[in-house]
Amino acid sequence: MFTGHFLILVVYALLVSTAFATLLRDDPRQQARLGAMMLGAFVLFAYVVAWLMFPLPI
């Protein structure tokens, strides 16, 4: 099974954003749009926070 942190993050973000977009929108086009935005936001935010935390001694 895959063990790369970033890959797991992307898979998790993809599944969660798909579920939320399906829950929150009725039209498939709007679902796809919201899902893509959420996926991008998840990944980007996690990436930025990860780099910000990189120098911390934890």
Binding site: L15, A19, T22, L23, P28
Partner: protein, 136 residues
Amino acid sequence: MSTKTTTVERDKAGAEPGMLALVCLAAWLVPGGGHLLQRRMQKGIVFLIVLPLMFVIGLLLNGRLFPLEVSDPLVFLGAIANRGVGAPYVIARMLDLGAGLVTAVTYEYGNTFLMTAGLLNFLVILDAFDIAMGRK
């Protein structure tokens, strides 16, 4: 004569307790089942694929299915989250899966996938309930 119904009439029509219980039970047992039962096919199929897939990935990442231990509140809450996904949880327990491997590098990721699948299914159950009540 108009055939339009008011919100109150729709609520009354959708608020039969037996039907509500059936929808909620189906939604818990089979992720997306509540939507499929109410002919919301697209949503039902997406939930039917995404939530069990998330659960299976959690198991493959060596996540743990937590026991219902009241003495440890965090474990107890994790156990509730795990059980939210319904049939996949029952099947995993029957197959003795979900023992968890705490030394695995992906252990915490696996736990997160398993718990999130259950928690998302709780939201899906609420959505199915709202549809049955005529609110959506």
